[in-house]
């Protein structure tokens, strides 16, 4: 698809900034997101190429203003929902609970 991931030849992003001693993960949630994606890959409900496509479907504006592992998280959520393993409501209820909001009875 002609998505925001296909950046080759585009102007306007500025220089590539190299980070000294760049860590593999910049936050613990990135490590968890990576591990969850690999674990669900091993579950066998989809293949590697499908995971790439799932990341590419992120809305273009969102894709360009979020980081690498946010793309991974978007892809993982999309596949979990598409395969019927989780619903969007279940994910949102869990996020609300983690934020300390009422989860309207979800467990």
């Amino acid at each position: 698809m002609n998505g925001a991931h296909d950046l080759g030849g585009m102007h306007g992003f500025g220089p590539v900034e190299r980070e000294r001693d760049e860590p593999v993960f910049h936050a613990d949630w990135e490590r968890r997101c990576f591990a969850l994606t690999l674990a669900m890959g091993a579950y066998g409900a989809w293949n590697l190429d499908a995971t790439r496509y799932a990341r590419e479907t992120m809305p273009a504006g969102e894709y360009l203003t979020t980081g690498y592992y946010e793309h991974w998280l978007h892809g993982l959520q999309r596949q979990l929902i598409e395969q019927g393993l989780l619903t969007r409501e279940e994910i949102e209820a869990r996020m609300a609970r983690l934020r300390g909001e009422s989860d309207h009875g979800a467990t």
């Binding site: 698809m1 002609n2 296909d6 080759g8 030849g9 690999l38 674990a39 091993a42 579950y43 066998g44 293949n47 590697l48 190429d49 499908a50 790439r52 496509y53 590419e56």
Partner: protein, 116 residues
């Protein structure tokens, strides 16, 4: 796919996996052939970047037979076919703004290419 057990995770990740397919699929091109990347705009996954579509390049290497990601991403099977390293000159891709000595090598599959 076999279930991945916790005790095998490290070994499996260290080994990695390959999309290479052991199948006798005839190659449509060989090293030195001039090719043109198809001008396609599929709604699904493709490994053919926009900036190379409709551009001419040269096959520099035949990597062998691999799963075709454009089909595999959408449950359309592996459609195994040859994957090549294709050289596109910077001038072909970017016109007069392209550096005369630079080129981009892109791994592309038979279904991405036409004879030039």
């Amino acid at each position: 796919m076999a279930r991945l057990e916790a005790r095998r995770v490290e070994a499996v990740l260290r080994k990695g996996s390959s999309a290479r397919v052991d199948a006798a699929v005839p190659a449509r091109f060989r090293a030195g052939d001039r090719v043109c990347a198809r001008n396609i705009h599929p709604a699904g996954h493709t490994r053919l970047p926009r900036y190379a579509r409709g551009r001419q390049g040269t096959i520099t290497q035949d990597h062998g037979v691999f799963i075709f990601p454009d089909a595999h991403a959408h449950g359309a099977g592996a459609r195994p076919q040859h994957c090549y390293s294709v050289r596109f000159s910077a001038r072909e891709l970017w016109g007069p703004q392209g550096d005369t000595r630079s080129a981009v090598y892109i791994d592309l599959w038979d279904d991405h290419l036409e004879p030039a």
